[in-house]
C-alpha cells in the first residue's frame, strides 16, 4: 500500500498543522500506549516513571515525533531516510516490529483528539498509510 502523490500532499499539509503541537502529541501517544498496551512497558524498564505525566515519557514522545517530522520531510524515500533508525531498532533496541502498529494507533488517536475537524477520514487514511510505510522503513534492517 504505497503512498500516492495525494497521500504525500495530504500528510505534508496535515503535519504542518500538527507541527506546533508535535512534542505534546508524541508524549501523549507514548503515555497512552504504555497504559493501554502494558506489554510495551517491557522496552522501558530502564525508566523510573512510566506514567503519562513522566518527564521521561514526554521527552521520548517528543523525540519520536521529531523523527517522524523528519520522515515527513523525506517522504519520497522513507527507507533511505530511516536507515540509521532502522539499524538502531533492529540491532540495538530489538523492538518487535508489531509494536510499530500499536504506537501508530495511539498517534492516530491523539491526532484525532487534537484536530477533530482536520482529521477527516481522508486525512486518516493517508496518515495511516504513511505510518504503515514508516513502520516498514523502520523494520527494513531487521532481517
Amino acid at each position: 500500500m504505497s503512498l500516492t502523490g495525494k497521500d504525500k500532499t495530504v500528510v505534508r499539509a496535515f503535519w504542518d498543522k500538527a507541527a506546533p503541537k508535535a512534542a505534546d502529541i508524541g508524549g501523549e501517544a507514548l503515555g497512552r500506549m504504555l497504559i493501554a498496551y502494558p506489554q510495551t512497558k517491557t522496552y522501558f524498564s530502564h525508566w523510573s516513571d512510566l506514567s503519562p505525566d513522566s518527564a521521561q515519557v514526554k521527552k521520548h514522545g517528543a523525540t519520536i515525533m521529531g523523527a517522524i517530522g523528519d520522515a515527513v520531510a523525506k517522504i519520497d524515500d522513507l527507507t533511505g531516510a530511516l536507515s540509521k533508525l532502522s539499524e538502531l531498532h533492529a540491532f540495538k533496541l530489538r523492538v518487535d516490529p508489531a509494536n510499530f502498529r500499536i504506537l501508530a494507533h495511539n498517534l492516530i488517536l491523539v491526532l484525532a483528539m487534537y484536530f477533530p475537524n482536520d482529521f477527516t477520514p481522508e486525512v486518516h487514511v493517508s496518515v495511516d498509510k504513511f505510518l504503515q510505510n514508516l513502520a516498514l522503513g523502520l523494520a527494513e534492517r531487521y532481517r
Binding site: R32, I35, H105, I108, L109, P116, F119, P121
Partner: protein, 147 residues
C-alpha cells in the same frame, strides 16, 4: 470470561453514555470504508460506496453504523455475558456474511478513534485502556463462532 472491576464497568458506561448513536453511527462505517477500502467487499448491496463523497452521503452506510452501535449497546448492558450475547451475531457474520474477523479489530479501532474525536481529553489514557479492553472482549465474542 472477562472479569470487570466496578471501576471498569463505570468507565465503560460513562464513555458509552456520551456517545450519540444517531451522530456517531453514520460516521463509523464511513470511516472504516474510507480508511480500509477492502471492507467494501461486504457491502455489495449498499449502492455506490466507491468514492469518499459517495460513502459520506450514502444513507445505507449511515444506517448500518447505527445498527452496529445498537449492537454494541447490548454488549455494554451485558458485560458479564458478551460471548453469549453475541453468539448469534458471530454465527451470522461467519456463516452468512462471511466476514474476515480481522475486520472486527479494524472496526473496533475506528470506533475508538471516532469516539476520541468527540470525547477528546475525556478519553484519558486509563479510560482508553478500559474502553479498548471492552472492545477486545467484543471482538473476541464476534470471533467466537468462527469454527
Amino acid at each position: 470470561m472477562v472479569k470487570w472491576t466496578e471501576e471498569e464497568r463505570q468507565t465503560i458506561r460513562s464513555v458509552w453514555e456520551k456517545v450519540d448513536i444517531d451522530e456517531t453511527g453514520p460516521q463509523l462505517i464511513a470511516r472504516a470504508l474510507i480508511v480500509y477500502p477492502w471492507t467494501e467487499r461486504y457491502f455489495g448491496t449498499f449502492g455506490d460506496i466507491f468514492t469518499t463523497s459517495a460513502i459520506l452521503t450514502n444513507a445505507k452506510v449511515a444506517t448500518h453504523g447505527k445498527v452496529v452501535l445498537r449492537a454494541l449497546d447490548r454488549a455494554v448492558k451485558n458485560l458479564d455475558n458478551i460471548t453469549e450475547t453475541y453468539a448469534a451475531l458471530s454465527r451470522l457474520h461467519y456463516e452468512k456474511l462471511k466476514v474476515d474477523p480481522d475486520n472486527f479489530r479494524l472496526l473496533a479501532d475506528c470506533i475508538t478513534i471516532t469516539i476520541a474525536c468527540k470525547l477528546k481529553a475525556a478519553l484519558n489514557p486509563q479510560v482508553q485502556a478500559t474502553w479498548q479492553k471492552f472492545l477486545s472482549a467484543v471482538v473476541e465474542a464476534m470471533n467466537n463462532q468462527y469454527k
